[in-house]
Symmetry: C2
DNA sequence: GCTATAAATTAGATAAGACTAAATAAAACC
DNA sequence: GGTTTTATTTAGTCTTATCTAATTTATAGC
């Protein structure tokens, strides 16, 4: 069925999946090119190849979408990645800043067997420390239908932070100082054009949209 | 200093190191070719490249020897490999037959940091379950000067098995049935042209040279 | 010392995936 | 709607590591 993909191909598929999550449109070559740190011409080449393998839908000057087959590959790689990150951090005592790079290399080479052992050791987690979902062994994403970015909540809604979608160390550090960390309870005070006003443990902040859009909240 | 080698290059260096251990001569292209499952022509190409990098001494129609620099690379890869095998088996519950293949892929991608964490978890082991030496963090091999293959011991010498240098499952299984496993005490009864005669827990066997040469004994 | 065989090397081809430079298409601006 | 800017694609090059086929060197037999 899957005649063994190269690491590069897996990287492209994973990246397309991650970029697709943000909007709903096909992912542009430039977008991929910037995130994978390759030139746009290289992206075009690869998209043609992936298209022939029926892993992406691609038409010139249009962009790329994953096919179901491509999505499954992406989910598999993503599962590897997030399980590895979690394993490195929880079991081997790595700092969360260190794990990404290591997982980036390991995700392509671990066997299904090792993946299973790692998942088992971790108690089959559904989310990683940033709240990012970990696809299950049969490649289903956990049900996160009651989680939304801060920017999409209504005034008055309450909940707790369940996901923070930035890897930027300084941003994370800043959020930490503001007690805007995973599990933190908060309430939406206002949705304004220049940000989201929230209340956290007595404090109130006006979070710039840029930041607010990266904080996901589980409502209740 | 070392401008990052490819996985292939690392494989060649590791294999040359392992093949060098057996005899003392330069390793032939054919030998490498068979063990890496590539064609001799490919070996010649690679040896030229490694030679330019000063990782092997290579002269046409002569063979290859590792330089000190090449040996260090090989030791590093070997350390990764054996630590990984041990980790997979001891910590993650893999069977010893399963670990080799997995380690073969992982050995090239783990960071120094992960290597260190793994070594720490394992208590900085000096030998793997087969008795194969694990180079230390500063790439020294443990002192195994009092270990010899059965074939090199004198009649009357006693000791215990400290290394078995075959990966063949059926051979290992056979040795296991004969109680010829790691730590087993034995005595050399005779060195004969068709094998080594040994005594193990009451039993006596005449071990064919082929087999005897793979069993290493720590004398006392 | 010549010949047969085995081993090693050279030369040239291929595949993957990156690149640069040039050409083309689409989008954005008045 | 034409023009400029931006994005994308095409065409061709490079590197790495394989391969096959042909040639050359070394080794063994007699």
């Amino acid at each position: 069925m899957t005649p063994k993909l190269t690491e590069s191909q897996e990287d492209y598929l994973k990246k397309i999946f991650l970029l697709s999550e943000k909007h709903d449109n096909p992912v542009s070559a430039l977008d991929i090119s910037e995130h994978l740190k390759v030139k746009p011409a290289s992206v075009t080449n690869m998209l043609k190849k992936l298209s022939e393998l029926n892993l992406v839908d691609y038409k010139p000057y249009y962009g790329a979408r994953l096919t179901r087959a491509g999505e499954l590959v992406a989910l598999e790689v993503l599962r590897h990645h997030r399980l590895l990150e979690l394993y490195l951090s929880e079991i081997l005592g790595f700092g969360w800043e260190e794990v990404h790079e290591e997982a980036e290399k390991l995700e392509h080479v671990i066997s299904e067997r090792l993946e299973a052992k790692i998942a088992e050791k971790l108690g089959h987690p559904t989310h990683d420390p940033h709240g990012d979902p970990i696809p299950s062994a049969d490649l289903e994403l956990p049900d996160d239908s009651h989680r939304y970015p801060l920017t999409r909540l209504k005034v008055g809604q309450k909940g707790f932070i369940s996901r923070v979608t930035t890897q930027d160390t300084d941003s994370l550090n800043m959020l930490s100082r503001l007690n805007l960390t995973l599990k933190a309870q908060l309430e939406i005070i206002g949705q304004e054009r220049n940000g989201v006003r929230v209340e956290v443990e007595q404090d109130r902040f006006l979070l710039p949209l840029e930041l607010a859009s990266k904080i996901w909240v589980e409502t209740h």
